[in-house]
């Protein structure tokens, strides 16, 4: 009886851990009405990494070295006042709180809230989540893989300077 109870507890823990991930969040909301959803797979990132002379555009930062080792990118954008938008905000907030994510940055300005979270160590980011509550919409960006932390910070800083 004790063993069964332990097994069921383990099952519950494993399933609840697996049921909460950027991929699970994407799957939950991507088909909802009024949701803009973008998914880029690991295979596509590998393909991007192999494309020669990828045009970077005027003043844009070349992010190919950063993204070639990503295993997935999930982008969701939902109208803020919709039920799905409110639910997404709550779900992502609960997900990052109950996982190993660390708050990287938070900015609150005139009702707008933006938070960035990462999982990893001082050298590599294994998972990144950005949740932004804007006046019109709720935006979620999540990506997983292996990104050198210093390179990502450098790219963000360069893009911000442009």
């Amino acid at each position: 009886m004790k063993k069964i109870f332990l097994a069921l507890t383990a099952l519950f823990l494993v399933t609840s851990a697996l049921a909460q991930s950027p991929k699970a969040i994407y799957n939950k909301y991507s088909d909802e009405k009024g949701v803009s959803a973008v998914y880029i797979s690991q295979a596509m990132f590998k393909l991007i990494g192999k494309v020669p002379n990828l045009e970077v555009g005027d003043g844009k930062v070349d992010i190919v070295p950063l993204i070639k080792d990503l295993t997935g990118m999930y982008i969701l954008s939902i109208e803020k006042n919709s039920e799905a938008g409110q639910k997404l905000y709550k779900d992502v907030s609960n997900y990052v709180r109950s996982s190993a994510y660390e708050l990287l940055m938070e900015a609150k300005d005139d009702g707008e809230v933006m938070r960035m979270y990462t999982v990893g160590d001082s050298k590599t980011i294994k998972s990144f989540v950005m949740l932004a509550m804007e006046p019109e919409e709720v935006a979620f960006i999540g990506f997983e893989g292996a990104i050198p932390r210093d390179k990502l910070e450098e790219a963000i800083a360069k893009a911000a300077a442009n």
Binding site: I40, M44, M73, I156
Partner: protein, 126 residues
């Protein structure tokens, strides 16, 4: 005849001495009655190996199904063209940069206030 309590009080040496004593005869039907006793004990045990296996199999199946259904399925790629996918990724990184920039701006606004506070404290300490 010795009682069980008396036998339990005997030391190992005493027990060895008794076992070496050939004058003590072993009852002829001892092995038979021992076998009968052992058989009865074996029969009295609840024989439920099948039930145990069934429970183990059910738990394993529940674990397997639970894990299978909780692993999120991979969605379909939004883009089939790597150039379009790259453009989208670049846009996403730009949005992240914009938001970081805004955070830096807000932090920048706080600097003069902090400097002023620091100056007041410094003047008070003089």
């Amino acid at each position: 005849m010795k009682r069980i309590e008396d036998i339990e009080k005997l030391t190992l040496q005493e027990l060895e001495a008794i076992s070496d004593d050939t004058s003590i005869k072993v009852p002829e039907d001892l092995s038979k009655s021992l076998a009968e006793l052992l058989g009865a004990a074996e029969l009295s045990k609840p024989r439920r190996p099948l039930l145990r296996w069934a429970i183990a199999a059910a738990v394993a199946a529940a674990l397997g199904l639970g894990i299978y259904f909780s692993i999120p399925k991979s969605p379909r790629d939004t883009f089939s063209d790597p150039y379009l996918a790259y453009a989208e990724v670049q846009q996403a990184f730009e949005l992240i940069s914009q938001k970081s920039n805004k955070a830096a701006e807000i932090a920048g606004k706080a600097v003069p206030v902090m400097e002023k506070t620091e100056e007041i404290i410094r003047n008070l300490n003089k």
